[in-house]
């Protein structure tokens, strides 16, 4: 029982990341009808927002180390600590959550620039062309990041408040041996709240209503005199922010490097397909489902029966779903049927 709960917890943070990326992919696909292979790169750019803010905050200067008296010793002290003392240290440790403030405008800008600058020229081109050009863009973005940050992963720390583990078992009254890193729980709740916000935005605002109407029938909405293209561009920006934030908050769990986006992208596509192309709830459901199933498959008990299953479970499920229920779990009829 404990083991099962632990595996579900393990799946939740990964599932959260899958769900957020898949949500963005589905939003873009549902509104603009574009298959965006560069979406993983947005996830990575978000992660590197956190890295760069951390770099900026820890910009340091060499000062004389007063504790060493025998000889001249120097140590690196970040400017922030020099100027603000204790507060500076705390601020630096909060760099990952703080970078959300930086990432939202940056990712929104990148998303809008991408849509206006490149992708809008591809609406009338075949899907294969869209796949290819966004694939090229993904390579370019990845290489730019590699050139500016290097090829090594950049581990990020979490604020002291969230570091360490929580005794989840005691919370549910299940015994004391279920302990779990707090940050992963934070990530889960963070992704849930982002998902909630996206759905609320689409469901309860006028803007969201227009977007949903446009997803259902673009031409009619245009005939009513609404500039749907403009709203769809903003949706693209939003999708970029969503996956950027997903990447940013994931940095303490998995140190980001330049190809983290590609790794997540392939899986997120599978998630979208399993959930049903164009279905937002499907993307979220499939994201968590596959995340949890993946962590179950990596249990030793399962692995001893079916060796290697942890490596392929997601692809296996995708294949079965596509063959048995080609529309995906919650896919609507008529959306990208061929």
């Amino acid at each position: 029982m404990d083991a099962i709960l632990l595996q579900i917890l393990n799946g939740l943070d990964k599932g959260g990341a899958y769900a957020l990326i898949a949500l963005g992919l589905t939003l873009i696909f549902g509104t603009l009808g574009v298959v965006n292979f560069a979406h993983g790169a947005l996830f990575m750019l978000g992660a590197f927002c956190a890295v760069s803010l951390n770099k900026m905050m820890t910009a340091s200067v060499k000062v004389k180390d007063e504790s060493v008296t025998f000889f001249e010793a120097f140590k690196e002290v970040p400017y922030l600590e020099l100027w603000l003392g204790e507060t500076g240290t705390t601020l630096i440790s909060w760099s990952v959550p703080l970078s959300i403030l930086l990432a939202i405008p940056v990712m929104l800008f990148i998303g809008l620039a991408m849509e206006r600058g490149l992708i809008r020229h591809f609406y009338r081109r075949p899907h294969a062309d869209q796949i290819l050009v966004t694939f090229g863009l993904a390579i370019v973005l990845q290489e730019i990041v590699k050139a500016s940050f290097g090829a090594n992963p950049h581990p990020q720390a979490v604020p002291e408040m969230f570091s360490g583990t929580a005794n989840v078992g005691a919370l549910f009254g299940l015994g004391d041996n279920i302990v779990y890193p707090i940050w992963r729980l934070v990530y889960f709740f963070f992704s849930m709240s982002i998902i909630g916000m996206v759905f609320a935005f689409l469901q309860f605002t006028t803007f969201g209503m227009v977007v949903r109407a446009g997803m259902a029938d673009r031409e009619t909405v245009q005939l009513l005199g609404i500039n749907i293209t403009k709203r769809f561009s903003i949706v693209f920006g939003l999708a970029a922010v969503v996956s950027g934030l997903a990447g940013l908050m994931y940095t303490p769990i998995l140190p980001p490097d330049y190809h983290i986006g590609m790794d997540f992208l392939v899986l997120s596509f599978v998630v979208v397909v399993v959930g049903g192309m164009g279905s937002l709830p499907g993307a979220v459901l499939a994201g968590f489902l596959l995340g949890i199933l993946q962590s179950f498959a990596s249990m030793n008990e399962v692995k001893s029966v079916l060796p290697g299953i942890d490596q392929i479970i997601i692809y296996l499920i995708a294949m079965v779903v596509l063959l048995v229920r080609p529309r995906g779990l919650l896919g609507r009829k008529g959306v990208m049927e061929d």
Partner: protein
Amino acid sequence: MNTVATKKKDNLMVLIFAAVVLSMPVWLQPFGAAYPDLMQKFVIFGLFAVGFNILFGQTGYLSFGHAAFIGVGSYATVWVFKLYTMNIVPAILFGVLVSGVFALVIGFICLRRTGIYFSILTLALAQMSYNLAYSVLTPITNGETGLQLSLDDPRAWDAAQVQGEGIPATNFFGMEMSAWDGLFGFYVCAAVLILGFYISVRITRSSFGSMLRGIKTNQQRMTYTGLNTRPYALSAFVISGMYAGLAGSLMAAVDPLAGAERMQWTASGEVVLMTILGGVGTLIGPVLGAAVIKYFENIFSAINTSVLADFYSFLPDGLIDIFVGVSALFVGKGWHLTLGLMFMLVVIFLPGGIMEGIDRIKNRFAKKPQQD
């Protein structure tokens, strides 16, 4: 269309193609690319792209998992080297056979869907094989180390020959692949490429080929005429999978080892790029694209900052550093950035690839006399 004339034209094209490929060691000299290693790459990847084009160019199915067949072909070939004989002919035949069977299975699953679903399915399956090659299948694939020959391999059919010291080299009925300073290996690969190219021309011109193009143009209409398109698409998939397997086998034949990194999906992306860059659906385009990419990969990744500094030495001092700094992003380890940019530019401005570019230039010159 006059079919006899087309056939003559095709034969002429294949002959010219053969002449160009076989004379590569001569005319590549001034480009600094006339060494066997690189020319083998041109030829092998050209073959891979020709095969990929049969699927993507003819039927319009965009597979993102073709590198998996390269991997399967290489592994199968190396196993024949290990177990039976160092002669490349049975090894390559076995590699092609295995990858064909593998393609049949994968194609059977993937071709139940079309469009983007097909791309994602092939991507998923290829990624799955890649992961399996690294984990469970380690007894077959030797995991991260890659499959290599070793001294205590049985090599059952070669036992009659005298076992010299060290690992024997791959050979073509006794003629070592590395003979003639490696040129022999190149000529073997080139012969295979010419044969493969000829077959692809024949396929394109056959009624089977027009059936495939019918699938690309409008599959629904093909179905409405009472035709089951799936066997045709599946045959195209298997054929192109066998071409990929053949390319993988040749890789193993010139350099007898096989690793899972050949199966990664970026490798699949590369062959897509080669085909696009050369010209999707054209006959020569894919080979051209493969050669251009491998050539620039080789040239660009060898350039470093000191070479750049030499190149810009005519500029005033202050400017040199700036130019070198900017260009350094695109060469050496940054070669992938150039590749990505090239990819985007081609898709945006020249969707028909180099062949379309050539056509455009031709038309421009051809039209002028008419206007006069």
